[in-house]
Each structure stands twice: as C-alpha cells, then as structure tokens.
Amino acid sequence: MESDEPVFAIADALGPDVMELAPPDEKHFDGSGTALLVASAVAGAVGSGVLAAIRQAAQNGSTALIKKAAAEIRKRLSGKNVQQIFAAEGTRDSDDAAMDAAASVFAAARQALGELEAAQQTELAKGSAAAAGEALHRLGLRQEVASRVRQEIEVQISVTMRQEASGDHLRPGAASEQQQTARGSSAARPAATDPPSRALAAPRWVRQQRQVRRPSRRTRRK
C-alpha cells in the first residue's frame, strides 16, 4: 500500500463538496487538486493530533488523549489555514510536497497508534476523526459531508490498525469505493420492464477527420 492512499481516500470523501470550504464570494474553477490539498491538510492535522496526544501521554502520563488530539486538530484546521489553501498559488511540485508531508505524518501517527492498547487505539481514532469532522463542519462543510469525511478518517486509521495487526491487505478507501460502485451498478442495471434498446457510442468522425486533414498540412509545408 502506498503511504498517500489515506489522502486520496479523504479527498474522495470530500468530493466536489470541497468547494464548500472555499471563502465566500470568490469565483473558482478549481480542479480536483484542491481536494487533494484539503485532504492533505486534514490527514496532516489528524496525524499531528494523534502524535501530539501520544507524546504528551508518554511525557506526563496524561490519559486525556482525545482532548489533546482534538485541540491540535482544531488548531491546524482553523478557518485561516484551510482558506489559505484556496488562495495559495502552488505548483505541481509544491502540491506533491504537501501531500508527501501529510502522508508521512499520517503514517507516523498510525504507527504510534499501533503501540497503544486496543481500547485506547479505538478511542483515539474515533475521537480524532470526530474532531476533524467537527472542525470541517464549522468551516462550512455540510454535516453529511463532514460525517462522510469523519467516517473515512476512521476507516483509514482502523483499516491500517487491522492491517498492521493481521497483515491484511485490505486497501484503504475500499469501503467508500465499494459503496459508490454499488450505487452506480444498481442504477446502471436496466429494469425488467424496460423496452428493447440500442446502444450508440460517441461518433468517431473526429479521428477520421484528423486522418483526412493531416496530408493537407504536410502539403502546405512543402
């Protein structure tokens, strides 16, 4: 499994609704890269939150893991930080670097989580996912989308914990993808009462036209 799979899965959970996090009164036509950047910020925040909580517990024996993780996540997913993503003028390289950094923090957090007791693992995974979902909802993401993201974060952490424990190769994001495929396939299945139909693919005239035109261009060059 690639380390950036959780970022892809969170970006899929955000989907086109990621634009609800953009500053109001701005006109955008952002591509899916924005969803990856926001997902990177979310994965990075959750990873940092989990790591900060575990670090504090190791230092002073604190058991308030969720409180510490939630505070860190809220701080990182502030309105200013998230809205900055929409204003940033990044390049492919800078976007890749942001994604790599987030994936690496998330992976480190997963590893650290694996060292906790099972009950604490579950509690911290759920608490961190809930804190991220709440922070995104406060920033304007509809409740249902925020819940979808929360579930995906939880799945990512939980799936990885199971994987590390059992060597299972269940791919992250598979749960949400399976759900989407199921919805798509049920809609695609024709009803028993549908009339007989014909199927047409898009016309291929462009390709034919290209083949016709190319010789004339060469002729002009001569």
Binding site: E2, D4, F8, A11, D12, G15, P16, D17, V18, M19, E20, A22, P24, D25, E26, K27, H28, F29, D30, G31, S32, G33, T34, A35, L36, F86, E89, G90, T91, R92, S94, D95, D96, M99, G140, R142, Q180, R183, G184, S185, A187, A188, P190, D194, P195, P196, S197, R198, A199, L200, A201, A202, P203, R204, W205, V206, R207, Q209, R210, R213
Partner: protein
Amino acid sequence: MPASGSGSDPVDELPVSRLADVPLPSGGYALIECNLLAWGLVGCRAGDIDRYFAFWEAGVAAGLTDGPGLAHVVYRMDGAPLGGGWIEKRANGMGRTHLVVDRPRDGPAAEIIVDLTSDPASQRLRRILDSDATGHRWQPARNALVAASAPLVPRQQELIAVERLVLERIGPDADGTAPIAAGVCEEISKHAGKLRHELAIDAPQAAGLLLAAQVPIACAAQHPGNTALAELIRRRYLVAAAEHARHGPEVMAHLLVMHAVRDGYAKVLDYAAATYYAWAIAMRDAALAGPPDPLRFGAQLYNAPPYAYAAYLICQGARAALGKSAQGGWARMQTDAEELFIRIGDGIYAQYRDWCLSQLDRGREKITAAQARGDRREVWKLIRDGEFGLRWPRSYRPYLLGEAPAPAVEYPEGDRYWNLTNPSSL
C-alpha cells in the same frame, strides 16, 4: 490559456475550429444530439451552450490552450463591447475568474473576443431539425430554441402568465375569504414542472416560478392554527410575486424574498434555501452514481439547476434585506449554490461537447499516458477532475482506465419522441 504555458495541450489540436464544421448526424445520432443540445440550451441559463461554444471558437482563434496562464475576455454584441474580465488558470489546476478591469497579474495573456450574437449550438440544432434527420420535428427541441432565442433578454412570457393567473384569481374582485391561494400555488408549480419537462423554460425562470409558488406556502405554514391569516399571507406573497413577475425571475425573486424577510420569515427562507440546495446536491450525486451513459447523466443533471438557482436567489434577496447583520451564513450558501449551478451548467455543456467532438477519447489518452509514466497522482486527478467538474459519472472509471469499452447511449428502439427529462422534476 496562452500558448506560453509549459506542458499544455493546445485546444486547437482538434481538426475543427468551429461547430459548424462538424458533419450533421443522422438516425439515432441525430436524436441523441437533439437531446444534448436542447438541454445545453435551457439546462441552466437560456443560450448557455451557445455562449460556451462562442467562447470555445474564440479561444481556438486566439490560440488558447488548456494549460496554466492568463486570458483577457471581452464580450461583444453587434460590435459593441459588453463587459468582460480576466480568467486565470494556475499551474496546479486552480483557477479564478475576475470580473474586473484591472489585470490581476503580469505575464502574457491571450485576448479572447467573444461575439455574443454568435449562436453556433442553436444553429446546429436548427439544422438538424430542419434536415429532418430525426424523422420528426421534436417539439421540446423547438421549445428550447425559442427559449434561447434572446439569451440576454429574459423571456418573461411565462412569468407574465403567472401574473395574469394570480390577479384573475385573487385580484381585487375575488372573494377575500375563500381559501384559493394554495390552489393557485399548486397550479403554478405544476405549470412550471410541465414547462421544464418540455424544455420551454430555463433554470432561472423555473426557479422564479418555484419561488412564486412555494414562498407563499412556506410562510403561511408558520401559522397552522390560523387559517384566515395563512390565506392572507399566501395571497400577500402571491400578489407580490405577480406584481414583479414581468421584471424577470431575478428581480421578482429578489423583491419577494426581501418582502418576506422583512416580514420576519428569514428562518423559513433559510430553511427553504438549505432544502433547495440539498435537493440539487442529491440530484447531482444521483447523476454521479449513474450508469456510463452520457444521455442519462445529462438528463439527471438537467433536473438540478432550478433548485440550485432558487437557493441562490433566496440568499441574494435575504442578504439585501438583512444588510451586514447576517452576511456570514447567507453569503456562504449563496456562493455554494452559485458554484453548484455553474458546475452543473458546465457538466451539461460537456456532455454535448464530449459526445460531438469525441473529447472523451482525448481524456482517456491523457490518462493512459499518465498510467504509462506510473504517475498515480495525475491519474487520480484526471479522473476526479472529470467527476468533480460533472463531466462524467463515476461509472466511466473502467473506460478511462482502459478496462472497458467507451460509454454508450442506450435508447429505446423506435421511440422517436423520447424525452428523458423527469416530467415531475419540479
């Protein structure tokens, strides 16, 4: 964007630079084009697809590429400038539109002059219908052509009909106590649904009719124990809608909403806007989860814009009525609803463009190239760009990844009057 952008693909790679150069279809292909073109004409704003193609043709003429860069757009009508602005596409795929005169940044910029009198899509639809390639004269497509014939001057005929209906039923001569307003609202609602199904009105008109019928009902519902007051409120807002109907859906909705907000119904309208927005989102999501068929995807997208626009109009009117005291939530919802409306418009247009110009093949070629380079992130981005931008449903993934044949349109054999739009969409 200007051809200077590195790694960009020139738009004019296509063998045509004008829609008029594309050969006319026949048989089932003609029927499919009639549907897709007609939805493009009235799916969002009347004549949108004409403006999209006018922009595309002007972009090809200006050497525009789909890579990063800056473009200055000037709209002209009968030779006279009619506004414009700047379009900025950034290296990471993000983009901004600036409806300002000042240049947002330095660097080369393509100059795109768009002639708004140009109507390439309407002309093509007219040619297909006139050639009788479909073997009939499909009335909804004719309706769409009529509705789009004056894209910058909203056609108020249907709204004026509402004004007449309301004033006839509950004007000064009507019985002041009879509970007739709810019936009038229902009649307007049904009428709007029928017109929308017949492709006779665009989304702003449908949204205007929706609000004219439903704002009175929603406000009156706040007084369940007082039927006389409820009837009075329904009439009050119906008359308010009718009085402003001839000024167009935007003005009518704006004044109706301001009226209701000032009467203390802001929470009702907030709930209505959130509900309309949620319905539009649900329709978009249903389309995204649909089968790999551009016509079914387009038909599902066609149902959503009136709701997104109704939410937008409510927020706009409420912000005007409430002033600075309640900008936050309303401003956000207005931006989200407008964003959704525009995305759906892009999606409806893309169904026709991709079909007619075989653009899906180009998308797949790019993905194949990224797969060959082992660039997983680029593959993800290219596929999701299409899904998030409502260019294709998720069921296209196997095709785009080279695992399935091209999406095809399934249509009922022998049905020449086939209309996929939902008759009860409003």
